[in-house]
């Protein structure tokens, strides 16, 4: 299995992601360039990563321009064929803008950029990115975003809940749900109905090494890399 990390103009978490996937996890990983219309040699076993950053400056609405970049057509068809795609932060925004994930990410409730370590409650273990955790487990990860408030309407939320698509919710260290940025139902990360496309605002790649004082994000990459749901 290999990883392809898409570099958009303004991506700034691409190197961090490659470091974790390559040096920490030991996986095969390469950069993909936004101007390419296709990427070759990838099977549905492999995974495309849309990293964090400010694609095209995000001066309009986060991810709104990146979804039109040449490589996104290839990412969409890869996902439609069952290929794995994960978007972190700006990558999550791009996945919502491109319709690969439902809902939208809008400006934080308090209109300020928020950069801090937050607690997340693992809401399901039935996904390739959460099967390494326990359901209800509280993990810590940094967030760093101005447009991270996940919104969806009532119907949309019901679908997410019915299909067990909510991966993470913001919580207190004790596990009570907590409104970090005003997200609908405190949602921090979701997957699609088919469970091959994943998006989240928190940064697991910033929480995967002991030197950083936090390895809570590593299990996410490990289970994704193994590519199978583990018994929990």
């Amino acid at each position: 299995m290999k990883f392809g990390v898409v570099v958009f103009p303004g991506s700034n978490c691409d190197d961090d992601m490659i470091h974790v996937l390559g040096s920490v996890l030991g996986a095969e990983v390469e950069k993909l360039w936004h101007k390419d219309t296709q990427f070759e040699g990838y099977t549905p076993e492999d995974c495309i990563v849309l990293p964090g950053g400010f694609s095209y400056g995000d001066y309009l609405r986060a991810g709104a321009i990146a979804r039109y970049s040449p490589i996104m057509q290839a990412v969409i068809s890869f996902a439609n064929q069952g290929g794995k795609v994960i978007g972190i932060c700006n990558g999550f925004q791009i996945l919502c803008e491109s319709g690969l994930l439902p809902g939208a990410l809008v400006r934080n409730e308090h209109h300020k950029f928020i950069s801090k370590n937050v607690c997340l409650r693992v809401e399901t273990t039935d996904s390739l990115v959460t099967s390494g955790y326990q359901k209800g487990q509280i993990i810590k990860m940094p967030i760093a975003h101005a447009e991270g408030r996940y919104v969806t309407n009532e119907g949309g939320l019901a679908v997410l809940q019915k299909n067990d698509q909510v991966l993470f919710r913001y919580s207190t260290p004790e596990g009570a749900l907590f409104s970090e940025n005003g997200s609908t139902d405190n949602i921090a990360g979701i997957c699609n109905k088919e469970r091959n496309v994943f998006g989240m605002m928190p940064h697991p790649e910033r929480a995967s090494e002991a030197i950083l004082g936090n390895t809570d994000g590593l299990a996410l990459f490990q289970s994704l890399y193994k590519g199978e749901l583990q018994a929990t």
Partner: protein, 744 residues
């Protein structure tokens, strides 16, 4: 020459900020009266901001070589230190005070953009940003507007660029009420041998302008930065530039990529005085000249005058000299990053900068006389000991009962100068690039790990300007020492210093006294610590004219320091770690409360002396803490600075979410001992089994120390007095500043 250009006489030159002598000197250099474009060029290049004319004489007394310095101060855009294994660290701090006072968001944002460009035009990738911010009273609505603007400006720019803001300081003092200070620092890493110089070697080589188009923004910014801020300064708004961090991100990636081709001769960012400064400095450095066709410069507006194009400080632009014949390689990379890149001229051997527009030579000036170290003026101003220094008096700590003691402690922990700055730093991305190791457990300096290496950098900015105001010499010795102490407590040793010298009007002899003595203190401390001053910037004219009264800011020689942590395991944090750990205070016992926040803010005496300080004792403390850390003998270390021992204990307790029980030495005044800011002191925590070894080393070093007590529980107790739960203190500490800034 253009018809619209006005005739030049001294009156015109004076309006551009030049003196009679300077104008005469220009005429003599030129051998004729310069035209308007030419005199404009001289006016910006000889402005304080570009020429350092009132400071260079003293700056040259600072240690500018030695240690691990690879590039001497002033030689390149930023200083460069050897960090081993074939790598070097480039770092620099710069002010953006005047723009931020008028337009806080853009002023601060472009300050961040400018300092990062200085780093990456050398070929280094910025890995950390820091800043030092000084504001007036945060309870004042206009000040809150400035604070919010500055913080979001710094945040939005750095966050988009993807360089983490890992450290800094925020101070509040009435002296900054009309003239806030915004100092931004960038730290980058580069392989030795892959740096690029700001030079223009090789006549015949093409000259490119890269990045944003040139507009009318920021014209005369350098001149504006070199004058007093007045009530009319808002009319100078066009002198404030507008930033585009996305453009900067593209420039950063493209710049590092073109350097790898080997086709680049030299590169310089366009900061103050735009095209004028970059063309003349690069030419002067190489002893060459340039011809530049201004018609080829992409502009944002039509019909821009030559002088407007030359003086524009539009952001996110760079001048690049390329090896002739290899232009296509460079252009391909800029195309890849969708950046505009135009060949606008070539290097010559004339030593002159010749600017053409519409087929005519619009300015023809010699490069060397324009620049610092060339023909730019150098002045020595008179100085006199400020009168207010006569009124500085020491006072004794008043006798207080236990209840009053707790009440004072609460006031201190909630002072905006002590309370948590999380309202500020939570708007800065401090985790991107996964280098910052202190986002969960802080250290006195921030430890930034280097990937695929055993090493980390420890970075800090420090200056207690109240100390410097009380005694410019001793106060600056302390500023440098505190920075070095912070790096030592974090497990590193100091490598070098970059300084940002924020002072009032240099023509005021009392201000100049502060400047001269601050430099003297800085030089002495830097020589002691073997930390050369690699560069930085001087910002004079930080004061406000209110009616007839001139109020200079507190003299603020901000010290940016970079240190090296040689092994990851040396990294040391300030938190209390485990119940039962011993708490020790190392360093001389305090005897007074001079200079403390307690005297200034609680007792209300503004004119209090600088705290006690001895450079030799300080240095011995540094060596000792390094020994203790490298022998893996201590659990945590935190220096004692603003707010004294009490704040130091409480910060360690809050960071570790641990309580403490300590006893002060017998017969000391409790409030003096708890709140004194007497220097050269640290609090360390030590596991029981390592106590003997620690005390043996302290005894050997002849450093005074006392066992204060133990880490444990969830509450704080001092001399048997119950100070209450740590969680309550944390709530006070965390919320105090947010509550002030979020009020309507």
């Amino acid at each position: 020459m253009q018809e619209t250009e006005q005739a030049v006489d001294f009156e015109v030159a004076a309006k551009l900020g030049l003196t009679r002598d300077e104008f005469d000197k220009i005429c003599s250099i030129m051998g004729r009266t310069p035209n308007f474009t030419e005199v404009s060029i001289f006016s910006v290049m000889w402005s304080e901001h570009c020429s350092y004319k009132n400071s260079i004489k003293y700056l040259k007394t600072l240690p500018r070589d030695g240690g691990r310095l690879l590039v001497a101060a002033g030689e390149e855009n930023a200083g460069l230190m050897d960090i081993g294994d074939g790598e070097a660290c480039a770092f620099k701090i710069e002010s953006h005070n005047h723009p931020s006072a008028l337009e806080p968001y853009q002023g601060a944002a472009t300050g961040v953009g400018g300092i990062h460009r200085d780093i990456f035009t050398m070929g280094a990738r910025p890995i950390a940003a820091l800043n030092s911010l000084r504001f007036g009273d945060p309870n004042h609505p206009h000040m809150r507007h400035l604070i919010k603007g500055v913080v979001s400006g710094i945040g939005d720019y750095g966050n988009c660029l993807g360089v983490p803001t890992v450290g800094g300081e925020v101070y509040f003092d009435p002296s900054y009420q009309q003239n806030i200070l915004v100092n931004a620092m960038s730290v980058g890493v580069v392989k030795i041998g892959e740096t690029i110089s700001a030079c223009a070697d090789g006549p015949g080589n093409p000259v490119f302008i890269v990045g944003s188009a040139t507009g009318r923004d920021g014209i005369h910014g350098a001149t504006f930065a070199s004058a007093d801020l007045t009530e009319d300064s808002a009319e100078d708004l066009p002198a404030v530039q507008v930033g585009d961090p996305f453009q900067e991100k593209l420039l950063l990636e493209a710049s590092l990529e073109i350097i790898k081709t080997g086709a680049v001769v030299g590169m310089q960012d366009m900061g103050a005085a735009g095209i004028t400064c970059s063309t003349s400095e690069m030419s002067a450095k190489s002893g060459t000249g340039m011809t530049i066709n201004l018609d080829l410069v992409p502009t944002r507006q039509i019909n821009m005058h030559a002088w407007e194009i030359l003086l524009s400080e539009s952001q996110e632009r760079m001048l690049v000299v390329v090896k002739k014949g290899r232009e296509k390689e460079i252009q391909a990379i800029f195309d890849k990053w969708d950046l505009e890149c135009s060949e606008i001229g070539e290097v010559t051997d004339t030593g002159r900068i010749e600017f053409y527009q519409h087929g005519e030579l619009v300015a023809d000036v010699p490069a060397n006389p324009l620049v610092l170290g060339g023909g730019a003026p150098v002045y020595d101003r008179e100085f006199v000991r400020p009168k207010y220094m006569d009124d500085i008096k020491s006072i004794n700590a008043p006798a207080v009962d236990d209840e009053a003691l707790i009440s004072i402690a609460k006031k201190i922990i909630t002072s905006p100068n002590i309370a948590s700055k999380k309202w500020v730093y939570e708007q800065y991305d401090h985790t991107v690039r996964t280098g910052n190791t202190n986002t969960i457990d802080p250290s006195d300096a921030t430890i930034v790990r280097l990937k695929d290496s055993e090493k980390s950098l420890a970075v800090t900015v420090d200056c207690n300007s109240a100390y410097v105001h009380a005694d410019p010499y001793k106060g600056t010795l302390i500023a440098v020492s505190e920075a070095a102490r912070n790096i030592r407590c974090s497990g590193g040793f100091p490598l070098g210093v970059t300084n940002c010298l924020n002072f009032g009007n240099p023509y005021n002899p009392e201000v100049y006294y502060q400047f001269v003595n601050a430099i003297k203190g800085m030089g002495e401390a830097c020589r002691k610590y073997n930390t050369p001053v690699t560069g930085g910037n001087v910002s004079f004219y930080n004061q406000s004219v209110i009616k007839d009264r001139t109020e200079p800011v507190f003299p603020t020689p901000t010290i940016g320091m970079v240190g090296l942590v040689e092994k990851k395991e040396h990294g040391t944090t300030l938190s209390f770690k485990s119940d039962g750990d011993h708490i020790l205070l190392i360093g001389p016992s305090p005897t007074n409360i001079d200079g403390s926040l307690y005297v200034r803010e609680i007792l209300g005496h503004r004119l209090t002396p600088c705290p006690e300080f001895d450079l030799e004792v300080e240095y011995s403390l540094h060596e000792t803490i390094t020994t203790l850390i490298t022998k893996a003998l201590i659990a945590g270390a935190h220096d004692i600075s603003e707010g004294g021992l009490f704040v130091s204990l409480m910060e360690s307790a809050m960071a570790g979410n641990k309580g403490f029980d300590v006893s002060l030495p017998a017969h000391v005044s409790k409030n003096m001992y708890l709140f004194s800011e007497s220097q050269s002191r640290l609090v360390i925590s030590v596991r029981n089994e390592k106590l003997t070894a620690v005390e043996a080393i302290l005894a050997e070093q002849a450093l005074p120390f006392v066992r204060l007590g133990f880490v444990g529980g969830s509450s704080s107790c001092i001399d048997g007095i119950d100070f209450g739960a740590i969680s309550n203190w944390a709530a006070r500490y965390q919320n105090a500043l947010s509550a002030i800034l979020e009020q309507e």
